[in-house]
């Protein structure tokens, strides 16, 4: 443990993305999950919680459009104890709460660390938004953008900040591809063209592999964070 005496906002609590808590301990890794409405963000968060909860201390912050819908889904699914799930209200604008004015989300993650910590990982889920919605670097350390094959196989080609810059792109619901006429090969090629070396995972939460690849990516990020 070390105290960083040089940082400029010495005081009772961190003001933004400082990697250390006021007591000098390293804070939890924060991973954001964003993407269009209905692409499977909440289902991915639920699957991640189930995959990781026995090996990590984790918590979830949801940013709902209509108050607590996503948080209540996670509570119903009992993926984590209720005290580890916090819903942030966004005034109908999740992209504002995750990018332009992150204060409510920062308070949510700090309160979770204070109340149920120490935590290894906090997943911050955005309410469904548009292709330009990305997380502020002041809020999360890495972000996942979740799209699905049924939303149109031209989304990777269209690009946009989420598809192009997210640390991980997840193409969800691959089991539906034959039924909606989506060409997975074309989606993979378009994603590669937009993202160069940034990783892409194709997943179906209805198959046995489920969230395995995304969970492995999270473990790698966590290993890099805690070094």
């Amino acid at each position: 443990m070390h105290l960083d005496h040089s940082h400029s906002h010495d005081g009772p609590s961190a003001v933004s993305a400082d990697a250390h808590r006021p007591d000098g301990a390293r804070r939890a890794l924060r991973i954001g999950l964003g993407g269009p409405v209905g692409s499977g963000k909440t289902a991915t968060v639920a699957a991640l919680c189930k995959a990781l909860r026995d090996e990590l201390s984790l918590a979830v912050v949801t940013n709902d459009i209509y108050t607590r819908e996503d948080a209540e889904f996670l509570l119903r699914e009992a993926v984590l104890p209720p005290e580890r799930i916090t819903a942030v209200e966004t005034g109908a604008c999740p992209h504002t709460a995750i990018r332009d004015d992150i204060s409510a989300n920062l308070e949510a993650v700090e309160d979770l660390e204070d109340e149920v910590g120490p935590l290894d990982l906090i997943l911050v889920e955005s309410g469904g938004d548009n292709l330009t919605a990305t997380f502020s670097k002041g809020l999360v350390d890495a972000q996942v953008f979740v799209i699905d094959v049924a939303g149109g196989d031209d989304i990777p080609r269209k690009g946009g900040p989420g598809v192009t810059t997210a640390d991980l792109l997840v193409v969800n619901k691959t089991d539906l591809a034959p039924y909606v006429g989506s060409d997975l090969g074309r989606m993979a090629a378009d994603a590669k063209a937009q993202r160069a070396e940034l990783p892409v995972v194709f997943q179906s939460l209805r198959t046995e592999a489920g969230v395995t690849d995304v969970a492995e990516w999270v473990r790698e990020r966590l290993a890099a964070w805690t070094v």
Partner: protein
């Protein structure tokens, strides 16, 4: 002191959490009390002369250097609705974070330590004004303007109200904003001689009651 600092603080995009709050407009829209520009203007005028005057006076007193702990207790006493007290403290905590990052100050740090879960927003606003090198009247104006700009912005989203009409409402309220800001500064100065009991205690019962009902809605767009 820089006048431009006032523009930074009063900017609707200042990242202090206001975007998630409607200032009571969501409840008023649902109840049919705000249906368009004219009723939005009446709602804002009512809020300005009651809750707005109290907030602006608290902010002005904070900017004058009145003890923030005493001001926070005075704000509690003037906010009957528990839901509104929670909202005011949450917004105060968010403003504190933004202000400390924007205008670092030992005074802000000390109050953040005193109120880890947040002091009332107008009290923090007064301190932010001091940290920004601005004056008492700036604090009153900022607070009074927020009191009407929040419902106006929210109503654009809630009713799909024409944004030009909403901005016109704010412009027509300008003389009332001047008046309330003057009253707030006078009230804040009288606190120096007579203590926080000299602060106005106006309130709008319907705002307080509907805030309690709104906080219990299972589905809502705004936090308050």
């Amino acid at each position: 002191m820089s006048r431009a600092a006032l523009l930074v603080l009063a900017d609707g995009r200042f990242p202090a959490g206001g975007h998630a709050h409607s200032g009571g407009a969501e409840a008023a829209v649902k109840a049919g009390r705000i249906t368009g520009a004219a009723s939005l203007e009446e709602f804002c005028r009512g809020r300005l002369h009651t809750a707005g005057l109290v907030s602006a006076s608290l902010a002005a007193a904070g900017a004058l250097g009145v003890d923030p702990v005493a001001l926070d207790a005075a704000a509690d006493a003037r906010t009957p609705s528990p839901a509104l007290r929670v909202a005011a403290r949450r917004l105060g905590r968010q403003l504190m974070r933004a202000a400390r990052a924007t205008w670092p100050s030992a005074e802000l740090d000390a109050v953040a330590r005193e109120f880890p879960k947040g002091a009332h927003q107008p009290v923090v606003l007064g301190l932010a004004v001091r940290a920004a090198g601005l004056g008492t009247d700036d604090a009153a104006y900022c607070s009074a303007y927020e009191c009407v700009s929040a419902p106006a912005t929210a109503t654009v989203r809630l009713l799909s109200l024409d944004p030009f009409d909403a901005t016109g409402v704010l412009a027509r309220l300008a003389p009332s904003l001047d008046l309330v800001a003057r009253q707030a500064v006078d009230a804040a100065r009288s606190v120096l001689d007579h203590g926080v009991d000299a602060l106005p205690a106006a309130s709008a019962p319907l705002l307080e009651i509907s805030a309690e009902a709104h906080a219990a809605w299972p589905v809502r767009l705004f936090a308050s």
